[in-house]
Symmetry: C2
């Protein structure tokens, strides 16, 4: 089934203990799309400025990504982010964020995308997320991401958004902030009461947890010795997850469990190199092979 | 098969966001023994002072713990520890440690315990650990714990100990400190080169990882909403793990995997209440029921 993503398309500069990359392709919707297209084509909605390199457009063209919703605003500048990671690389230190085109009007949802069945709203202002939801004609599954900024500054807007979506993906610090609960399972169950029927809490190198009214899924991260750049880990996690669900055209509990395994694996591939490099060179067959390796590393495997 | 543990037997005072307990039974060998006796009897070696309450001795008598190696030194005082936990409770803040009897001569290994097959050396000076190893007549599996203090101050002694044991259990901060590697898998593999053929890295609320020459096992923690006091989590983890191995009388990879699941579960029970309270009231059948619940919470389950 069709999968829509809307989020940032950016130009990143990143430094980690393993190297650095300057002015490389990044952004939540981009990481999401590269991970999701292991499983299904993606419709991308986002905006870039006149400075967006032709070369990056070619990279986006490598995958089955429908760019009809990619707006280029010649007079604007693209979103830029620079950050660095140290130590266990669990958290980025943001050095600079230039919202640029992201601070302007939201990109339009093309008429042809309104019938999208599976929808992922990457982290942005919750009112904009709700605005996009209102334009959908026949959604089967709407999942969104959020961040500490919106939890702190636009809490009421966020709570309204949580009432119109199906799933929320957020990291553990955000889950604690949103609910005021230290215990992650209590936090997850608290979020279920706010509207979503699926809550996915990301824990970086420690894996993820899914909480639904039916139960709990706990997933360790795929242990890798080749972690070079965690940028986009959460977005590539969401991409693998949503790509699998859209491909399977299912939203039941069992499908979600399979989907979270895929998200874990696409994230693990992504962080092995800077920018989109690892996702670009890794084939779906290799990702599925890693799924098998991963399952074998767990007690039931 | 016989299971021997040597470690501390203490009197603890603990404060957490969920309450507090003063002058309660604690110590690494005690938590270990209560968890291990879900699966097999335990031989305990340790020393206490004349101040050790008769009531605590009765508690130890509730389980199949052979106390022939429990030395009571009337003129000495028992080991005391007090600490507090805040926030996510992943780390204790030690308020006071009184080594007392632990700073004296090591307790003697009774002649009848020398033939122990499965042996766990809880955290203590690595030279004392080695001394105990040298007294064993027919060990099948020797596993030890350690801590940052020995890694920093007696590194050479610790490295010598690592060459005469089979397995090392340590937390992730210690694994990083011992190897200088941030990546946990790299750290685990680095420790294998130092002697042990099994390395178990504990990650608190994030679970555990086992690294052997054959492969890797990753385990999330059992998600619980009832975490009240994490004291003894690592020791009850080791107890469930070693208790299962001794009970099965196996040291192969498959048995270790099963054993780590048991360790995860006994630790999850322990942290649901202060001191030994939760382990004391929970039956083996309930622990095994929780094993099933846990496996069902993972992708293969």
């Amino acid at each position: 089934m069709s999968l829509l993503v809307t989020g940032s398309i950016g130009i990143d500069s990143v430094q980690t203990p393993y190297g650095q990359a300057s002015d490389v392709l990044g952004g939540s919707a981009v990481y999401f799309s590269f991970a999701a297209t292991y499983y299904t084509p993606v419709r991308l909605v986002g905006a870039v400025g006149g400075d967006f390199p032709e070369e990056f457009r070619k990279v986006l063209g490598e995958r089955e990504i429908d760019l009809a919703g990619l707006e280029t605003r010649a007079a604007s500048k693209s979103f830029r982010w620079s950050g660095s990671y140290a130590g266990d690389m669990n958290e980025a230190e943001t050095l600079e964020t230039k919202l640029n085109v992201l601070a302007e009007e939201a990109p339009k949802l093309p008429e042809a995308f309104r019938d999208s069945a599976f929808v992922f709203l990457a982290n942005t202002h919750p009112a904009l997320q709700r605005d996009l939801v209102s334009q959908l004609t026949s959604p089967k599954l709407i999942v969104c991401d959020t961040m500490n900024l919106w939890i702190e500054t636009t809490r009421e807007e966020l709570l309204r958004t949580l009432r119109v979506i199906d799933g929320l993906v957020l990291n553990y610090g955000e889950a604690r902030m949103l609910t005021g609960e230290q215990n992650l399972l209590t936090a997850g169950r608290g979020i279920l009461k706010l509207g979503p029927r699926v809550v996915v809490i990301k824990k970086g190198e420690h894996g993820a947890m899914m909480v639904t009214p039916k139960g709990v899924l706990v997933l360790p991260a795929f242990p890798s010795e080749k972690v070079r750049d965690p940028t986009g880990a959460g977005d590539s996690f969401a991409g693998g997850m949503m790509g699998y669900l859209a491909h399977a055209d299912r939203t039941d509990e069992a499908a979600w469990r399979e989907a979270l395994v895929r998200g874990t694996i696409t994230a693990s591939i992504n962080i092995e190199d800077f920018s989109l490099n690892a996702l670009r060179r890794t084939k779906r067959a290799d990702a599925e092979k890693r799924v098998e390796q991963y399952l074998a590393m767990m007690p039931g495997g």
